[in-house]
Amino acid sequence: MPHAATIDIKSLSKQYEVKGEPLPVLADITLSIRPGEFISIVGSSGCGKSTLLRLIVGLEQGYQGEVLLDGQRIVGTSLERGIVFQEHRLFPWLTVRQNVALSLLNADMTEGQKRFAVRDHIALVGLQGFESAYPHQLSGGMAQRVAIARALVSRPEVLLLDEPFGALDALTRAHLQQELHRIWEAEGLTMILVTHDVEEAIYLADKVVVMEPRPGRIRRIVPIDLAHPRDRAAGSFVRIKDEVLREFSAQPPAAADAAAALAGRGPPQCALPGAWRFAV
């Protein structure tokens, strides 16, 4: 079992420069994540949750405050941090096996070890028999499983998930949420999931971090003490869901955003079916 990472974020702020004007994206984020913990981050569009994830994976630079992984400041990307994006981002000219093996290009392993690791991780996401398929031959859910295998095969200490199921249909999404939970239990690594979907956040996480926008701040951290497997229809589950949703309605700008999205006037990524289920 790989070593799981501790992540410490201390007074993190980030701003972009837009036409010479500073535009704050994240303000004073402080968050501590224990090894092996599952954290969900929810918030409306523009609350900076994806930026936070990109800072942790190392794709974004330039910030104030500290982002520490096992006490070390994060500089650039690293094979210790895997990420799954909303789009699968598989290489269309490579087969499933080759796509997963791509992660091990720079791994310190023998060819034989690499072959085993790739085979094991394709099995972990349940895609035996599809090793030689090309991405265009896979369904959206299968492609996203390959992306998960690719992110896990290098045995990262932390897996970051940026709305990984946002573009999938409701059935596939529910199924993959179950699978992700199983993988988290099996691999024992730290996971951080960014999502629009409050139900998904509660179903999977030990803690749900609710963020509010402009600039992105943490509004509340809701611990989820429900035992697994969780039942979305159970009274305790629904109570927590209502509690998290109340945090949203209590914040005027985000609630306005949600209403706009429901009316079909929201930013493009909000138009995804199911992405705003929590608001209904």
């Binding site: 994976v57 190392g58 794709l59 990307t77 690293s78 094979l79 941090r81 895997g82 990420i83 994006f85 789009e87 981002r89 290489f91 269309p92 000219w93 490579l94 791509l102 992660s103 290009l105 720079n106 090309y134 991405p135 265009h136 031959q137 290098s154």
Partner: protein, 263 residues
């Protein structure tokens, strides 16, 4: 009741033959029923005789092989230079800043405007012709290689960063395969342009042997059957080159499947 549709009656793979066969029939009829007495109109039979005579005497091969040899040499030079310049433009901002503006100015010059300059520099022989058709192949290859490299999806670039690819891995695993369809499109265009230019060069720099020169001979002597035979051969060669390029492309880019993947 469905009305009989004559076009549906022809099986799909054979539909491409309908137009040429109709034209052939019209040609035959025009001659047979004496629709025109113009000496421009020759019979299918005389073109056929000319074809047999040209083939058996070896004159077809002399001309065609001279043309094809120039075509392939010029294409090879133009396409290789095009790949190198296109890759340099795509990969290096410095090179793009230095050479880009000049290149984009040069590509605006009509290919035929180069002929006087080339004939002064290289004479009227093979060297000038090869230089001319290398230029014809050069421009589309540069443009498509450059475009292909510059349009590698940013999403895949990020994946390469997350997976800690070094520059060599980034080139081999991301840039090259991603740019490949565009690069092949450029090479394919270059191949077609080079063949068109091969004929152009023979008309504009009249000297030596070549299938174009055979046709010019035909025109001088008013042997219409020879001219028509030449046109058919040139068309068939172009068709064959295009077919070969398409087959190679299809094989090498099989991963694209039928759908056009986003990335």
């Amino acid at each position: 009741m469905r009305r009989f549709n004559p076009f549906v009656a022809v099986p799909k793979p054979l539909r491409g033959w309908v137009l040429p066969l109709v034209l052939l029939a019209l040609w035959w009829a025009a001659f047979r029923f004496g629709w025109s007495s113009s000496p421009v109109l020759v019979s299918i039979g005389s073109v056929w005789h000319r074809a047999v005579e040209q083939t058996l005497s070896g004159e077809l091969w002399t001309g065609l092989s001279a043309s094809l040899r120039r075509d392939l040499i010029g294409f090879a030079i133009g396409a290789s230079a095009g790949l190198a310049v296109g890759a340099a433009l795509g990969l290096s901002r410095l090179f793009e800043n230095l050479v880009g503006p000049s290149f984009h100015t040069l590509k605006q010059i009509s290919l035929f405007a180069w002929i006087p300059l080339l004939s002064v520099w290289f004479g009227l022989g093979d060297a000038a012709k090869i230089a001319f058709l290398s230029l014809a192949a050069f421009f589309p290859v540069v443009l498509n290689t450059f475009e292909g490299i510059r349009s590698v999806p940013g999403e895949l670039m990020e994946v390469a960063r997350v997976l800690r690819f070094n520059r060599r891995q980034w080139l081999r695993k991301v840039v090259l395969p991603s740019a490949a369809p565009s690069i092949f499109a450029g090479i394919h265009l270059g191949l077609i342009y080079a063949w068109l230019a091969t004929l152009g060069a023979e008309y504009l720099l009249v000297s030596g042997k070549g299938i174009g020169n055979t046709m010019i001979d035909g025109r001088e002597h008013f042997w219409m059957d020879l001219v028509i035979f030449g046109v058919i051969v040139v068309g068939l060669v172009g068709f064959a080159l295009n077919w070969i390029a398409t087959q190679i492309e299809r094989r090498l880019l099989a991963w694209r499947g039928r759908s056009v993947a986003a990335y």
